[in-house]
Symmetry: C2
Subunit: 195 residues, 2 copies
């Protein structure tokens, strides 16, 4: 039991180191050797904890996909207007970006390296999330709360607009996470709403 706990912790450390390496060098350029070095293990010992680089990528991608789908489920179940729902989802995206940047960055940029059947399983989860987000956007346009935009353009512009947080944002350096959050919410929600 103690061994299992220890292994789990080591696995977690490996995943965190991998996330940083993927961010700095990219998934393709990161080798198992780099990863072993980052966690002070011999490459041969690394294989006691993980079977492959792809196992780590899989964990990162599916953990994040499920985090966003859990958030979506809560938002769908809550009472409120489409604008309130979009705002809640935006806050989830922004907080995840400011709180766990490297992980979400790997999730955003590196999922293309998943092989089958993982690739198809992952893209299905992604499509599901996007479809449910689009549905909320469309209902806001139909009710006249949002301006009449191409829903898919609005969706991708929203997702994309916070990507700079991964590269740029260091909490508390110039602005706090909540200042950044309020500013982005103001700008994007005004952009969606009918003037």
């Amino acid at each position: 039991m103690a061994t299992k706990t220890k292994k789990k912790t080591k696995k977690q450390a490996i995943q965190e180191a991998a996330v940083r390496l993927f961010r700095d060098k990219g998934y393709s350029a990161t080798s198992m050797r780099d990863l072993a070095q980052a966690v002070n293990l011999k490459a041969s010992s690394l294989y006691n904890h993980i079977s492959s680089k792809e196992e780590i990528l899989k964990n990162i991608c599916f953990e994040n996909a499920h985090r966003f789908l859990e958030g979506m489920k809560k938002v769908e179940a809550m009472p409120g207007t489409p604008a309130e729902k979009v705002e809640a989802l935006l806050r989830l995206h922004i907080r995840t970006a400011t709180g766990d940047a490297a992980s979400v960055m790997a999730f955003n940029d590196e999922w293309r390296h998943l092989t089958e059947p993982l690739f198809s399983e992952f893209t299905a989860l992604r499509k599901d999330y996007e479809g449910r987000f689009l549905k909320i956007l469309k209902s806001g346009m139909q009710s006249g709360q949002f301006q009449n935009l191409e829903p898919v353009v609005a969706l991708h512009t929203i997702f994309s607009s916070i990507r700079w947080l991964y590269d740029w944002f260091q909490p508390g350096k110039e602005l706090t996470a909540s200042e950044v959050e309020e500013n982005i919410i103001n700008m994007l929600m005004e952009g969606l709403k009918k003037g």
Copy 2:
């Protein structure tokens, strides 16, 4: 003279192939061997045309930096409100993204791989551009045309919001380039303006 023209054309072909490789594999993972293969040259012949992978990255980064700075110069010189100026710059960003995606993507993502003194020269150009864009945003906030946002958050949200165009957009597939442009302009300009 004929030789020079031919060399220039080959150089252009090499740069275009490099741009695609950088997009698909990333700069770090792209080797001179990959590049030679992509343009049907032996690695040894490739060196007749370019001295290094970094020479290509340098060309991509500085050509794009100057393209945006030229655009900025025109916008600064034109009469118009801050909103009109921001809109003109946004259109420049969107058109460059829909018209020359791979090149701008390399410029956006891979400039960090430049070594000194190129790195510092490039970041100075980038800082200059961002500073001039911020000045226009601030003047719109001071005049009350824009809502009172943290200028740096507005700037990065604008830049970031169109990054999905590089990954996703295929002109004419679902939407035309100009439909996408009008939708993004509507959303972001409404987001900036005071309601």
